[in-house]
Structures are given as C-alpha cells and as structure tokens.
Amino acid sequence: MTSTTWKRLAPLAIAIALLAAACGGREDSGTSSSSSTTEGATGAFIDPAKDCDNYQGTQGIAGDTIKVGTIRPASGPYAIYDQVTTGLDSYFKAQNAKGGIKAGDGKSYKVELIKEDDGYDPARTPQVAKKLVEQDKVFALVGVIGTENNKAIREYMNDNCVPNLALATGSPEWGKANEFPWYVSALPSYATEANAWATYLKTAKPNAKIALLFQDDDFGKSYETALKKAITGTDLKIVGEQSFNPLSGSTTEAAVTQLSQSGADTFIVGIGGTPCPKTLSFVPDTWKPTTIISVTCASKTALSLAGGKDQGVIVAQATLDPADAADAATEQVKTFFAEGATAGLSKDQMEGGIVSVGWGFGALFDKALAATKTVDRAGVVNGLFQFDNNVFGLIRPDVEVTTDNAKDPWLIEGFRIAERTGTGWTEKSPMANENGKSNSYAG
C-alpha cells in the first residue's frame, strides 16, 4: 500500500532527464582537419613531424578567421583578473575592426576569442582547456591566467602540440622551452625582476638591511629564491623575513609590524593582488624604509588602495604605464588609447594598468603571426622564438624582445628602476637588458 507508482516513476524521470541531456553525440575523433606542412626550414625550433604524434597544425583556422581560446577567473575572489581578458578581447576587436591581423603569409586574419572561466581553480583548468581544444577546436590558447592553472594543462598542451602563448604569469617554470616548447610567457620571469632589485640596491644602497615580505606560493617564493641568490657575496643583508599566505584570509598587518622592528632600512614587498597595496598602508609612520614592490601591483588601480603611502616606492618596470604623463606621450600609448577606444574601452580602464596587460598579450599574438610565413601551430611558435628586438604592446621601447631561436625563451628581460612620484614615475636607473640570463637567476 505504501509503494506507489510515483516512487517507482522517480528513477524513470531521472532516466528521461539524463537521456534528454545525452543529446549531442560524440564526434568521431578521426576527422582530422587538413594537416598542413610546416616549412622544413633547418633551424626551426619545433619540427612537428618529429615532435608530434597527431599534429593538427591548422585546427582553428577557417578561411581568414583564427579561433583562439583563453581561460581566466570570471567568478570568485580573483575575478579582478577578468580585466586582463577584457584587454585581450579588446585588442582583437580593435584589429578585427581594422580588417584583421596581418600575418607573415601575406593574408589578414580576424581573430575570434573564446573565453572560458575556471574560477582560478587549477582543478578545473584541464576540463575547460580540453573543451576549448577538442570541442571549440581553437588554434591556440592565449593569455591563460595563473601559474598553477597553466601548469595543470602543460603536459596536455605539449602532448597535443597546441600552443599556449602569452602566459599571464612570470613563474621561472616557463623557461623550460626545450622540455615544453609550446609554452611562451608574456611576462618577465619573477626571478629576473628580483635580480633587477638587487642590482639596483647594490649601487644605490650597497649596505642595505632588507626586510623581506613574500607571498607563500610559487610567485612569492620565486622572488625569495632569486633575491637570496642575487645578494650572496654582496653587502646586502636580509635582516627580517616574513611570508604571507593569501589563502589564510588574514592581512599582512602583523607581518609588517614585525618587520618594522627588525632594524631594516629597505622593505621588499613580494606580494601581488590587493594585499600588496594594503601592505603599504600598514607601514607605520615611524618606519621609513626604501620600499620596493612587485611590478604586479605597480598599476594605478592597485596603488590607489595604498592609502596615500605609495609615494616613493620603487619598482622594476618593463612596461609603459598609461597613467604616467611621460609614458602617455609615447606613440605606443597613444595608439593604445586610440585603438582601445574603438574597441569600447573607457579611459579609466585603459589607465588602470590591468586591461593594458591583456592588450599586450593580444599584441604578442599579433607579432607572432606576423613573424611566421607558415600560419600553423608550429609556425607561430617558431616565429615567436625567432624574435629579434620585436617590442609589442606597451612593453617599453628599449626592452630587447629577443628569443634567439629558443636559446633565450624569455621575451622580456629588461627593466628600468623607477620611483613613484605623484601619479607617475621618476627614473632612478635606466633600462638594463639581461638577454638570455633569466633562467640563471632562478633558484
């Protein structure tokens, strides 16, 4: 009496729901797009005939359109990085409006960007990356955000010979071009940046007593390791050291207070995101160290959170700052403002310093296409690895963007040291290029 048809029907209803969801059908993986031949030019870094099992060189290219994918957090606590992707998208929109990107084969390509959200969770990145490659059939990934997120898909991208370009991370991990040739970072190595700080201190403050605050992850530890390596054998000394865990949900206040008592006269903030400017605001008025901050927080948007304590901080810069009056007068920034406006970016967005990073990623993909005569996957990566002083986006014009056929896999290895003055920067030490040395600065 208690058993009724309804209860019995429940699983049937589930079955129907599942069946309804099961529409679609698995595509036959055997339908390979026409695999094109890459120039057998001797000296090309990647040779797909040798390096790839099932090379799909022109997947994602249809007529004059190239489909590329990107992965970023559009939800969750790191959703601020979505603005990087806005910049990337805007770059492609602006170029598409002008008729497309001119590639080395003489044709102009329009770029279609497919954005996916992994919530900054590296456990979800592989699924969305596979979706982009296998279902959307993108040509490459561009501007994927997060060190762990990029690491989580590295073997997959490499095994399938799909380029992952303009990584939005500067982990020293990306220097392994021989092992993972399909990965090219669009940022300088964090290790090279830390080395630039030490180089500056060696002349400006040779007996500096350093208080070091670093983020307790790959990002912060890259700084820590490289800095310690750079100061061995010098008179620079670390007198206080604190790490900060961004997952802990607390602030850096206690760490800053401790460091202020360490007797240090120099304060290095190896922290990113909003905790970085917040750290500046915690510095007590009685402590007046020379403060060096990570370039990831040297933007107008980030420094506006420092409670006015951003004045005089020092940063190693590789890019132009659209909010700086001197930089804004350069042709590169003027072009950015003009083209960005056609893609619908507001002045605030463009000056903020986050959108412009993504804009640069788009520009890098542009340059990579222009550098290859064969527009296919291997061709584009080989093109990138043949850069010879090929400045892109808002990279400072005196940075030598040179890759030397992957012997020098880092694109950006030059920094100038600048000091925050008002809403702009004053140069303290001119551009110094360290071509081919980035890997040696890492631990």
Partner: protein
C-alpha cells in the same frame, strides 16, 4: 473487499515492474553517456561522481546520524593527497593508493569524530569548520611531501618519445575500442555504484537503525541499548572513508592536487549537494552532486558574459528558492508527491464501491 486487495496487489506488481524498467533505463543511460559526449565532458562526469561519493559520505553522517560536519572538504583532501603522494612519491598502483586513501581518511575521521562524543550540533560544526580551514594551510607547511601551495602533479614514470619521463597518470584502457576518459568513466561508475549500494545496505542494517535512532533521540537510543559512542565514532569514520574515496577519485581524475581545491568552499559544496538532493535518502546526494555539477560545468559557462561574475549569487538564489519550495530537496519533492498520490488513491478506494476500483485498475 477481495476486489480491493486484488487492485492493490496488481498495482504493486505493476509499480515494481516500472521500478525495474526505470533502473535499467538509468543504467543504460549511464553506460551510454561516455559514448555520447566529448572527453572533456566525460571527465566532468567523473568529477561529479567524485563529488557524489563524498556527498554520500556526508549524508551518512549528517542526514542519517544528525551530526553536522563542515569539514568534509578536508577529508576529501586527505583522500586526494594520500592518493597523490602514494602514487607519485612511493610509486603505488592507483587502486592500492585509492584503498589506502579510504583507510587513512577513515582514521582521520575517527580522530575528528572523538570530540563529537561531547560536542553536539552547532558546536560540532565549529570544530569541523576549524578542520576545513586548517587543512590547506597544513598542506602548505610540508612542501617536500605535498608540493606546498603549488600543488602536486600525480605522475608515474612512462616511456614518452623514447625517453622515460614522469608523465601524468592515465587510465590505460584494456581495449583500443575505449578511449582513456571512457575507461576512467566506467571504473568511476563502478566504484560509485558500489559505494552507494554499500551505503544503502548499511543504512538498512541494524547499524543503520542505530544511526537514525541516535539522530532522533540520543537518550532513548542509549536506553534501548544502542552503543551510542561506538556508533557515532564509527559513523564519522565510515563517512570520512567515503569522502576519502571521493577525494581519491578527484585526484585520479585531475592527475593533480593543490590546496586551493580543498578549502572551506569544497566542504560547503558537499552540504549543498546533500541538501539539494535530499538528506537522509540514498540517491539524494548523487542527484544533488549532479545538479551542482550541471550548474557549474554546463549552465554557468553558458551564462551571458555580464552575468558570469554573478553565478555564485545565482546559485544562492536557486538554493533559497529550492529550500523554500522543497525543504526536503529533490527527493523530498518525490516523497511529497508520492504521499499525496497515496492519500488520493486511499480515498478513492474507500469512497468507491470495490467493483468500481477493480474496473478502474484494469
């Protein structure tokens, strides 16, 4: 009178027949799914199964035994890290590592469950909350073993283009007819079904009745001879063991673990899965896990660009609406309908003369 009995009997056999057909249909669909979807989707299904097994464990504890745990994300993490470390560092085979993960999680669960003997309700929730909060921080303290905040890729040495290299683990299919992701799906499906069937048997056993008795009235249960302390701790252990198996599946599915996957948010996902599916029902957590997975992996990416950052808000609103309209979750909706229908049939049977009921039934 005999007519009425006959009608009931024929109805019963008919509904039993419907059940059988329905479960066969569910089974066929589940078996067919990996043939129908691309590999990334199949891997998402695998992730949903991992979540379902973990939620099944939490349901045993919270739904049947009435102990609230906000710490199952941590136990899930214990399972995942045990698997990852044993495979990568000690070169254990996958199955053995997964079994070890269940055992280690069981032990952790028993230890965490000890305070539960004295602490109840919200206070117990706070203790487990502390466990959930501490877990990722503890993991980061042992970078040599766990990979620290950077996480750990689960690798095994394999021949790759002529050289032996540490490559992410894969589920080598026995025949070339199956792709790697499909084979993984079938293994996961088998494990999931076994976990749910064992839980069902447990709940219907003597121990299952003890669980419910303790939930409903601990004093009465003790007076009736239920060994409250043993049952409570054992429940915590078994529940954690299931979470550990779920964690092992999670780790094997991604071939990578990192502390950010096991924060307090993960614990809350488990509660969401249990509550939306329907607490204190066997299939409830599975339905909840699938619904949650569908929202995160299927619906959420299709949202218009402007709404994407608001998807957690949307999830929250949907949950509130569900809890207001169906406090018993999805299974609760079925139970309510079934109750109404039973009541109506009873009424119609007693209102009408037996002959009418017989003719209506035929």
């Amino acid at each position: 009178m005999t007519g009425m009995l006959a009608s009931v009997r024929s109805n019963w056999t008919r509904s039993k027949w419907i059940t059988l057909v329905a479960w066969v249909a569910v089974g066929l669909v589940l078996l067919a799914l990996p043939q129908q979807f691309p590999s990334f989707r199949v891997e998402q299904f695998c992730a949903w199964m991992a979540l379902a097994v973990g939620a099944c464990g939490l349901n045993l504890l919270t739904g049947y035994n009435g102990q609230i745990s906000v710490g199952h994300g941590a136990l899930y993490g214990v399972g995942a890290y045990t698997t990852a470390i044993l495979i990568t560092k000690a070169h254990w085979p996958m199955l053995a590592a997964a079994v070890a993960a269940a055992v280690v999680s069981f032990i952790f669960g028993v230890v965490i469950g000890l305070p539960a003997l004295r602490i109840k309700g919200l206070y117990l929730a706070l203790v487990t909350l502390a466990v959930a909060t501490l877990f990722p921080l503890v993991i980061e303290q042992f970078p040599q073993l766990t990979g620290g905040s950077g996480g750990l890729a689960i690798t095994s040495p394999r021949l790759y283009r002529g050289a032996l290299r540490d490559k992410p683990i894969i589920f080598e299919p026995p025949t070339s007819a199956l792709a790697e992701d499909q084979w993984k799906y079938y293994i996961f499906l088998a494990v999931t079904v076994v976990c749910f069937v064992l839980t069902r048997n447990l709940v219907r056993s003597r121990m299952g009745r003890s669980l419910v008795a303790i939930r409903d009235n601990e004093v009465a249960a003790e007076v009736s001879g239920v060994p409250v302390a043993t049952v409570k701790i054992l429940t915590f252990g078994i529940s954690s063991g299931l979470a550990g198996i779920g964690g092992a599946m999670f780790a094997l599915n991604n071939a990578r673990v990192s502390p950010s996957s096991f924060t307090i948010v993960t614990s809350i996902y488990f509660l969401v899965a249990v509550v939306t599916g329907g607490a204190a029902s066997i299939v409830g957590p599975a339905i909840g896990a699938v619904l949650y997975g569908v929202f995160i992996d299927v619906v959420s990416p299709e949202l218009p660009e402007r709404l994407k950052p608001a998807s957690p808000v949307l999830l929250g609103v949907l949950l509130i609406v569900l809890m207001l309209t169906a406090p018993g979750g999805i299974v609760g909706i079925f139970r309510t309908m079934q109750g109404r229908l039973a009541a109506r049939r009873l009424r119609s049977v007693s209102d009408n003369p037996p002959d009418a009921a017989v003719s209506a039934a035929t």
